[in-house]
Amino acid sequence: MGQKEHLRNFGMLAILIIILCALPSNINLYLRSVIMFTMMYVVLSLSWNIISGYTGYVSFGHVMFYGIGAYATGILVVDYGWHWIPTLFVGVFVSFVVSLIIGFPVLRLKGPYFAIAMLGAAEGTRVVATVWEDLTHGGEGIGLPNVENSFETYFAMLVVMLATIVVSYWVGHSRFGIRLNAIREDEIAAESLGINTTFYKLFAFALSAIFPAAAGGIQAYKVLYIDPETEFFILVTIYMKLFAMFGGKGTVIGPILGTFILYIVQEITWVKFPTAHLIAFGVFIVLVARFMPRGLMGFAIDKGWARKGMVH
């Protein structure tokens, strides 16, 4: 890809940043929250995309890292009196370590076996969070200090989102990313052609684990109350997966676009049809899977609006 294209892409990102920086003081609390949660799902779907889109290891348990981040913040703020910002780094670090410990055995599994193992890992973490009452307050959950924090959390999420976008962009335009793609396409060939697949998979997995932890921490501070059921809720994994797939997994722009469109559609339908919205959403997912299996970006490529591949 030429420098011109990189410049254009970063120009677009700069415009997005300017808009997102100008917005919060001009909108109400509700909209501020909606945009913050939209940015959160951009973080989640882009992160999921690193291991599942680029590398082809479809994770059904990514909520695990988000939950770990949320609990790191909850515990440290409430029980240890920390300021909430440094707790995010702790959450990221714990997630990183956990991703290595879990990734090493689990990344030896492929396809549905990996997916199920990740689902199990996430459920296992939820059970730990429920049972280990001394640390996590168990099923009772943790209430965080009730303060007005909509600006702080908004901008913190914006920073984390930018970091995730920049890292995803690097992955999506580098030989590192191409090597992840090679693993997705044919692991035996990749290994035979010089790629240390164990190392690359673990690296990708760790990258995909750290950003959700930061997002989870910010979210915990924002919603003021966390418990195992909501912080390790499987629907969070399904959403990040869905948003990435709708936009086009294995691309940078896809998960961003997918999240902005679907999260906002989801929010509007939820307000208008509190019960029917999940059904409508479900039908929509089936239609996308049937007629646009490679998402919006795949559609754009088929139409000739976008180029094939990520490095040109």
Binding site: R175, I178, N181, A182, A189, S192, G309, H312
Partner: protein
């Protein structure tokens, strides 16, 4: 004739799959700087031997010496990084990556990206795939996929190249190009090439030495013209007279 230097020294290599003795004590030496052929009837253990040499399968026993080092037990990428590259019998190109990305994926991370790109461009030019550089690997014809695999295997400038049935499914014009390129690698760059092939024209006209496998054992080796007349080889292919 002086004995050629040895590129790959294979000693008593064994691989059993349950009761099937795919490779059963195979021993042979691949001469350095030459094109050699590995032939044998279907199921004689040629591809399994390739997979053992490249670390895709782990040998039950035996040794493979490359530049004095026993490479049995190394992982495939480690063997590749020591200068042994390969293609596959059934092509294993990356289907949802472009031709150019397929090429770049095999470049060494030790060389700068600019250099890797240049090398990819040169090799694509060489196998006449430049026009298709932005096309998905999966959209290429089978013959073009073979060429892509071949070019991809050369990205790191390996010293030893293992080609598993390079001629299968490739049309004559492309095949001649490919063979010309293989000769160029051997003659001008001193590379060692080992070819598994069913197309006897390729083996007889282009290999300096031929090894014959049957039931996982080497039953003959020698010059192509001698192999053609070898009684054991004829029996392995056609049965008892």
């Amino acid at each position: 004739m002086a004995e050629a230097e040895i590129a790959l020294d294979i000693q008593n290599l064994k691989k059993y799959f349950g009761g099937i003795k795919a490779v059963d004590g195979c021993t042979f030496q691949v001469p350095k700087g030459q094109i050699s052929g590995l032939i044998g009837p279907n199921g004689s253990g040629k591809t399994t031997t390739f997979n053992l040499l490249t670390g895709v399968l782990e040998a039950d026993s035996g040794d493979v010496f490359y530049n004095g080092e026993n490479i049995v037990g190394l992982r495939p990428y480690e063997i590749f990084n020591r200068g042994i590259s390969r293609t596959f019998q059934i092509t294993r190109i990356y289907r949802e990556m472009t031709v150019f990305e397929n090429m770049l994926s095999a470049s060494s991370m030790k060389i700068p990206v600019r250099e890797a790109r240049e090398r990819a461009e040169q090799l694509m030019e060489f196998v006449t795939l430049t026009k298709l550089r932005g096309e998905y690997g999966g959209n290429l014809s089978y013959g073009q996929q073979k060429l892509l695999e071949f070019a991809r295997a050369l990205m790191t400038d390996p010293d030893l190249i293992l080609l598993d049935e390079p001629a299968a499914g490739v049309n004559r014009t492309l095949l001649n190009n490919l063979l010309e390129h293989i000769h160029h690698l051997q003659e001008d760059q001193g590379k060692t090439v080992l070819i598994v092939e069913h197309d006897m024209n390729v083996i007889m006209n282009h290999c300096e030495k031929v090894f014959v496998l049957d039931y996982g054992v080497k039953i003959a080796e020698g010059l192509p013209e001698d192999i053609q007349k070898n009684e054991d080889v004829i029996e392995a292919y056609f049965g008892h007279r």
